[in-house]
Point group: C2
DNA sequence: CCAAAAGTGTTCGCCGTACACCCATGA
DNA sequence: TCATGGGTGTACGGCGAACACTTTTGG
């Protein structure tokens, strides 16, 4: 630190010190897709207040980490996964939102491939995937956080290729359609759906078929991220009409 | 507070007390529209660090107020205006974003009718409206905050009727078009623009004309919020093709 | 051979886009 | 009367929406 910076630091910690600091936390809204349903990962809270009640996975921000780092750490602690799709959503700052103390909490939402989770991972045993359509009561304002996350997911999934974050690298078109139907809670026409997806030229059809759901089998596809980035550079916009 | 709540409070302040609190702030990105230009209200910072440099209007969150309340208070202190359009945008939590201390700051953006400002208001004399196309360097990460706010404004202005927040209650269609052209930094076809706006049936044409900009005069219109709410209830979506 | 899921084309109407001329009026 | 900004209509192409039958194959 340069002498000037030290000077500033001293001057200003005095100035800033008349203000009250607040506990600062992060809560993670974790979506997964399995059995044709959109699910949310929640845990039984292990500390008071509200110990034993359902809660989002959260934690306090440490002095040496940024908000984003805190969110990633918390997600990693729960799932053992790194470098996931993760976006900051909203910061909740009502004075009494947490009965234990004044805590200002920032929510993040992430989309994960359930298949990637190491089920031996420590904390995951306290956790549970719930269908979003039948969530239990969560502590504090966590239900509101989830509602906002869902709203955002619905706002984004048809304008950005984020749905693929919820599927394995190889997937079938019926699977992809089921995902969108789960997100938007409505049925889509098979032909129109395939047309609008394939028209974008972002999926590479593989030679393999997935015969889990039918005798005929459905072709596997892979999302081509290079093509996507190239198209974006040319002013293209991802779009699935909803 | 009930006995149980006190008990919880005691138990949990112990639990929570092992975590470090952080200074928590709010910064306001304030847009206005005047002289056919989109402008941003910024101030000369009055405290160290970076005293005298250009900055967004901001302040620390007080123990007894929510984040939203803090943002509204700060906007009120600067402009003397209440109940403005104001949305939370993003929370900035990099460890060293503020050289004075670790401060986690939440940005809010608001749209105001410049005409409403009481120019005698105390703090406004330190402030200045800058065209967004030629902003100076701002302190900390404030330029990034503005960039994100602009992105959000552009994302929302053609899908929600928020543009009207920047205009006086009575406005002409050429004015409205100039606003959209300022937001999106591109020209639109007069006929198509009028068609897409009027088709929605949200504007009431008045009998008055505004002759400020032409000899012929342009009809004044008023945004009809009741009609809008009614249409929304019926599943309507505001839309101006961009 | 049959049940169950995968895959495939066409038609229609609307909306987004491009485009050029007349109108009203104060100076 | 003329310069200036305000106001108006039409034609075309593409996209979203609706819609039904054939194909494959394991059991």
């Amino acid at each position: 630190m340069s002498p000037e910076e030290i000077l500033i630091k001293q001057t200003t910690s005095e100035v800033y010190s008349i203000y009250n600091p607040h506990l600062t936390a992060v809560d993670c809204i974790i979506f997964g897709f399995i059995e044709s349903e959109l699910k949310l990962l929640i845990i039984k809270r292990v500390m008071d207040p509200c110990k034993g009640l359902w809660s989002l996975m959260g934690g306090f921000v440490k002095p040496e980490e940024s908000l984003d780092e805190a969110a990633n750490r918390i997600l990693y602690d729960l799932t053992g996964l790194k470098d996931l799709f993760m976006n900051q959503l909203h910061t909740y700052g009502e004075v009494n939102r947490d009965p234990g103390a004044r805590v200002i909490s920032t929510s993040y939402y992430s989309l994960i491939k359930i298949q990637d989770i190491d089920s031996d991972h420590e904390m995951i045993s306290n956790a549970c995937w719930w269908p979003i359509s039948e969530l239990p009561d969560l502590i504090f304002d966590h239900n509101a956080m989830v509602a906002k996350a869902l709203e955002t997911l619905r706002d984004e999934a048809h304008r950005k290729p984020i749905g693929f974050e919820l599927l394995p690298p190889k997937f079938t078109l019926p699977q992809l359609q089921a995902l969108y139907e789960a997100i938007y809670q409505q049925k889509f026409d098979k032909r129109n759906f395939r047309k609008s997806i394939l028209k974008m030229n972002l999926l590479d059809q593989l030679d393999e078929k997935d015969k889990v759901n039918s005798k005929k089998g459905a072709y596997l596809y892979r999302f081509n991220e290079e093509k996507y980035n190239e198209l974006i550079r040319q002013g293209f916009f991802f779009n699935i009409p909803i």
